[in-house]
Symmetry: C2
Subunit: 256 residues, 2 copies
């Protein structure tokens, strides 16, 4: 299982387009079975998976010590981790945990499969909205300076909805998912048509971020940071233009 994958992309640098190979981080799903029962799915980097599983169970209070673990088996190909734990107390906590795990943190827990299944495939054949690459860089650089809260605290992500000319909606939040949800929520409340708009974010593009944008039929997603391989694959399938590392005078176009 590789932790990175190579993609053919177009890099735009100081006005010049160049076809290059780009190395992209792999987003991996690990389904955790606890004493034979499906428990959670962790989205992660496929390295040190045993440590991840143990650390996760330890942090969550499911195990209290090393010898609470009777057995661990990681099936990397299937994306499954099988853990047997001995402490019955901890295991009775699991049901409680699932009920209690209703706190959505600074980057939310999302159900990828549910989101993905809701996308309508097939009628997305028209070309994505065209937006001038130089305009993208201008807007992305504008986004990076727009958050007064970021300037003061360094602790938020920003997200903007733009037309081909300017920023229409702007939000910031400690969570990159929240910032995007705020923009999409405001657009719904204000009845702003989304199909011809572009979303800009300062955050990384994982599958969940891509899916939120895809569900709203937004054709172009621009980030100042990196995408994962799953986000790129989804964007290509759904005919969404995905741009990453849009900073200064360069950007990577992952879908061309």
């Amino acid at each position: 299982m590789e932790d990175r994958k190579q993609y053919d992309i177009v890099m735009l640098k100081e006005g010049e387009e160049k076809k290059v190979k780009d190395i992209v981080i792999v987003e991996y799903s690990l389904k955790l079975f606890l004493n034979g029962k499906e428990f959670v799915t962790l989205l992660c980097t496929p390295k040190s998976l045993k440590s991840l599983v143990v650390g996760f169970l330890y942090s969550e209070g499911i195990i209290k010590a090393k010898n609470d673990i009777k057995n661990i088996k990681i099936d990397k190909e299937k994306g499954n981790a099988y853990v047997d734990i001995s402490n019955k107390d901890a295991f009775s906590y699991v049901g409680e945990y699932l009920l209690a795990k209703k706190t959505i943190t600074t980057a939310c827990a999302k159900v990828k499969t549910v989101l993905y299944n809701e996308i309508e495939f097939g009628d997305e054949e028209e070309s994505p909205i065209f937006i001038d690459p130089q305009k993208i860089l201008l807007l992305s650089n504008e986004l990076s300076k727009k958050s007064e809260l970021f300037m003061k605290t360094g602790g938020v992500h920003s997200c903007a909805l733009c037309n081909q000319e300017k920023i229409i909606l702007f939000e910031d939040d400690i969570g990159r998912h929240n910032a995007l949800d705020k923009v999409l929520g405001k657009a719904l409340l204000e009845e702003i048509k989304l199909e011809d708009k572009v979303v800009f974010t300062t955050g990384r593009i994982s599958s969940e971020i891509l899916m939120k944008v895809a569900k709203r039929k937004i054709s172009t997603l621009v980030s100042r940071a990196a995408p994962t391989n799953v986000a790129i694959d989804m964007a290509r399938k759904l005919n969404i233009t995905l741009i990453g590392f849009a900073r200064g005078q360069r950007m990577n176009i992952y879908t061309q």
Copy 2:
């Protein structure tokens, strides 16, 4: 409800300590009640809360259109959002959603209250482990260069466990929570004592990250990025040394 808060901190810059006022991002809990029933708690920035709630429900597929919302009331002081929705279909999906929401994404969903209650207060009175500030900067700068995967992809966070001299364990992952869980899991498997160690991370310090470290009785947590106000308050209460923005020749000490 302020979105930022001022703290008295010590800034170390090019070897000189200075007491300064620092503006810190506020971490806010918003409990969402759906048709009178508690649904989820969102950790967020207390701005545009109505847009956040609407966008979240829309992204999650709980509402399909603006007029699915009959009523929204935000009680900012209590940290509650009350939403009445009309579409029965969507509401029946809520139970399913809670069961299905077992995918822990690139930053995990954690139950802050559960974690917090597990911390033992009172016996943490001894002084945190001393580590030379110049050593902290050296290790933090080493951390930033250590991830070959970050150098190639720009898509991961790094985390390290250090003694007063060097990095002992190092992990990277698309999620900052995962990177920390990997380090803590490996430490458990290898039976490494944690009380006298320091954790370094490239990610922001929210309450969940602070709690993971506190549960392991680690006395010092260093980040290259920003902490939230809740993380600072918890660190001060638990007598954990919390350092942020440890980059180049400067760092902020939030607990002195």
